[in-house]
Symmetry: D2
Subunit: 335 residues, 4 copies
Amino acid sequence: MEHELDLRQYNVRTDLALEAKELAEVGGAGALQGVRAETVQEEGITITRMSIDNEIGARAIGKMIGQYVTLEVPGLRNQDTVLQDRVATVFAREFEAFLQRLGVGKNANTLIVGLGNWNVTPDALGPLVVENTMVTRHYFELMPDRVAPGYRPVSAVAPGVLGITGIESSEIVQGIVQRTKPDLIIAIDALASKAIERVNTTIQIADTGIHPGSGIGNKRKGLTQQILGVPVIAIGVPTVVYASTIVNSCIELLSEHFKRQTDNAGPIMGMLQSLPENDRLQLVREVLQPVGHDLLVTPKDVDQFIEDIANIIASGLNAALHDAVDSSNVAAYTH
Amino acid sequence: MEHELDLRQYNVRTDLALEAKELAEVGGAGALQGVRAETVQEEGITITRMSIDNEIGARAIGKMIGQYVTLEVPGLRNQDTVLQDRVATVFAREFEAFLQRLGVGKNANTLIVGLGNWNVTPDALGPLVVENTMVTRHYFELMPDRVAPGYRPVSAVAPGVLGITGIESSEIVQGIVQRTKPDLIIAIDALASKAIERVNTTIQIADTGIHPGSGIGNKRKGLTQQILGVPVIAIGVPTVVYASTIVNSCIELLSEHFKRQTDNAGPIMGMLQSLPENDRLQLVREVLQPVGHDLLVTPKDVDQFIEDIANIIASGLNAALHDAVDSSNVAAYTH
Amino acid sequence: MEHELDLRQYNVRTDLALEAKELAEVGGAGALQGVRAETVQEEGITITRMSIDNEIGARAIGKMIGQYVTLEVPGLRNQDTVLQDRVATVFAREFEAFLQRLGVGKNANTLIVGLGNWNVTPDALGPLVVENTMVTRHYFELMPDRVAPGYRPVSAVAPGVLGITGIESSEIVQGIVQRTKPDLIIAIDALASKAIERVNTTIQIADTGIHPGSGIGNKRKGLTQQILGVPVIAIGVPTVVYASTIVNSCIELLSEHFKRQTDNAGPIMGMLQSLPENDRLQLVREVLQPVGHDLLVTPKDVDQFIEDIANIIASGLNAALHDAVDSSNVAAYTH
Amino acid sequence: MEHELDLRQYNVRTDLALEAKELAEVGGAGALQGVRAETVQEEGITITRMSIDNEIGARAIGKMIGQYVTLEVPGLRNQDTVLQDRVATVFAREFEAFLQRLGVGKNANTLIVGLGNWNVTPDALGPLVVENTMVTRHYFELMPDRVAPGYRPVSAVAPGVLGITGIESSEIVQGIVQRTKPDLIIAIDALASKAIERVNTTIQIADTGIHPGSGIGNKRKGLTQQILGVPVIAIGVPTVVYASTIVNSCIELLSEHFKRQTDNAGPIMGMLQSLPENDRLQLVREVLQPVGHDLLVTPKDVDQFIEDIANIIASGLNAALHDAVDSSNVAAYTH
């Protein structure tokens, strides 16, 4: 029971299944039951395909049963456009395979939902992807006979955030889904990570939809198959970190540092080290609370990376969703 | 019959009822049947309250039966923030009176719809107003007992444009209306005017909703009470001009110029002058067509004005919709 | 004499030597003395290399003695990223050849000056190019021994506009030139064209520098070799049109239209046609004057094109200035 | 000696003299020699006027000899426009008094320098202030006889950052100063603070100029009277925090927390607590280093505050610099 609480606390800290797994492995005894994962290295891109198969695995990691694919590309911080093009191509390939594993048909009418807030840079990922995606649904509606082969109907909306609209984004999406009847929803969201080095360098694909409390924007209602009636694939990129997780990671590292330096680490980091991870995190949070309501932080140069990664995702989606868009040169179809 | 065609052509040229009326008066014999109008001057602001009472008036002007209020403020081009505050206050007062004349109750649940495209400056008016409006609906939903008196539930969405979303904005709004059940819709749209001097200096309020083909964005479906089931008030600001209307206005002015200079203007402007207005316009359009698909033009410094006028409208709406927001200092509630 | 006045008037209307030449040819008897030009077509790109050799040519066209290269790419309006990459490559090649013809050495210390106003979209071309150019001067200053071969020292500044800074941009550049001693200046400026279809689709390179009154921003002082002491290459893109030139072009076209329809065009377009071109233009301008101080207009979707063309120029400059940047994939070096 | 090193380390952490003083007082024995300070509360605004009178004070705090005025306004995080106007008025009054204390004359030709990078939100403060300042120098240059009384010549430039221009901003300013000969320079810069709660809520005025290493942008050369030959007033606002200072503050707080809970804190926080402050900070930094080159973080919603505070400063400067601008309604003169 207490352990369960522990995991929930972790969830607040990381939206990435990969990070959650790493944390669980550190805390536990290595390999986890009910969780399978394979990792591939590909010219600066680390691809991890992970499956949480049952409740045991879900509980161990604190993430939902489902399929997860993660692309880690530290080099994205260097604004290298050649690498960006390669990541878009790899993302397209992985996403297409993901659709196939889910059994999504070539013609499935697809609605892309860009969650987040235009006006807050690290939360603007979703709207930016929407802006750069190639939409085709209107051609299918207006002149279905004249659409070239190799395309499917794709639409894209950015529902805004509760503080700007006064309406839950999930309600807005429900209304649009009821009218436009898509077969599949792809929801893009900015996430919180445990680690600054993952910010703007990691892309996660998951078939679990978007759940309340995930992402930056404190959603109270989710975007899930249960609510919307159609499968929901979530694409997430960490763009912020909680200040409290930075502090906590640092304390952990300090504690290791001291252990290495002295035989007897016991008295040194004393109570802090002996505290269960989540109690310590709770303590750090309490200590930071007076600072203000919003402890999400982001690297200062987030502006320059958020547009690049939005372009990568939009290019990748264009190639993955339309056979007519060439996977080897996906960037050319994005503005 | 031919005259009717004539008027429709004008409609393509101006979305402003006031301009349509002026055009009709020039073409006709002065005062128009079925159209009533009063004009008030107020420290640099000209307010025209116009009513098109019946089909005769509607036909004469080429605008729908309904109530229209227009604020003309040439001084807005000077970026004078004191004047801007005054315009916001006058707009709030006129809009509140407009709501009363329509019989809209103090507690009517209101949805503000910002039409247009974030990424095209002169078409971004609607989204900018949405961004600056004070929304309250979520407080009424989440904790209805704790909302202070003097507020009504207000929500606000920017549905995007067909080219970005693949969905008609009217369909998106229909979906949202079906889920959130507002009593009133206020739709903000950027308009086309016949005259560059009206760009970013004129605000029109109308109870007729938004009709296909009006505004900048070539809507194919409207936002009207008939479609949405609740009253729709349209707020419009001209932010673009058709190149062909500039040319046509100029030819008219040249023709007057020549008349004044010579006794016998006949031979001089010859056929051009003798052409019915709409034939001449058609001719100008044909001549300009090779130039390209998009002849909407906008003053080069539109960026600087569009944000100011969006703030004026957002501030005015905040004061008009919520009694608790003081009409004398409306700007303070807008970010 | 009167003819001279005529040409000067034209200069106000177009900053493009190519347009000026076309106008002069229409007005005159075909080929012009003292002006040589060759035109090459290359997959959707029209390249015109023009030389005004002497005073006779300069007077005939109303442009300064010098070398001009113009790239016309109507397809740039379609946001085709493959074409954009090709234009960047062609621009790089032409610019490199231009430098060679001028005798600029491989190691010439180069200062790029982006004229114009960040906050007025059609005037933001220069600052956008500066933002996307690869600068290297600081590496040469800080660690000259460690700069890889194939690079030259490049710096880049956006001096702002008089209305924002209170200082002539040419004075700011003079100050910077005096301190940093470049061997060559490349000045980027947004231009006015006679024709909407040239907006954002044409790039002009000239070795004449920037002259007072050219460009959008009403410079009162120029950026020329005479003032700055080093060669100044100007790169210009038309991003605005004068309303009066639209009107004037249209009247001309109407007049031709009527001529074709009737044997005797004389009485029809009467005085208008018989007016010398510049008197007519003057008349149109007078007629339009009451409209307001600023008659520069721009297509409404200028936002979407200005960034593309800035990237093309920045990519092209990076490849042309640094041997180490591969001309075949220049876009990869631009963010 | 060691103490001196200690202070330097602090300087890297905070650009605010007020924070440096608080830190020094905590570390030392209360009131500091050579440092005078008075604090005034004014409806949500805390004003601290501080003077570092001699080397002893400078060494104790780790800041230069000089005058410092700090405005702390926690309420600025609430986007309250009424409060914003009040802060602008108070800032104007304090800045005017500051000018008088320095003996700057009413007609002193003033150059405002907005340091920082347009494209990185938390570093864009300086350029945003430049954009919103009322410049008048060109009127004095072009038509000195026609400038109304109550104005002085003011110019404003944003020199950009080394990574974009390839030129040190101080070199660009030197060039401009040599040409335009101002009597006073006001330099605006974004700063780093020790505490997230100070971000975007604190304004510091200092007569010490800008020094290498201060601000966000890693300047290598300063903007000082010694370099530029005229007095340089620096206006700074913290917009970022170092991740390491967050961690360090947190460890300190944790340590206090444990002390309160147990009689014998000694063994618990052990070595960490016993470490000298700067050694601990150094340790934290080492631990965080692998994360990446850039550990400056900023609250995720920085976009929304940076424009507000830039407007406050621009409005305040307009009122303080020109008698003709009414200090009671300064916002009206800013766009």
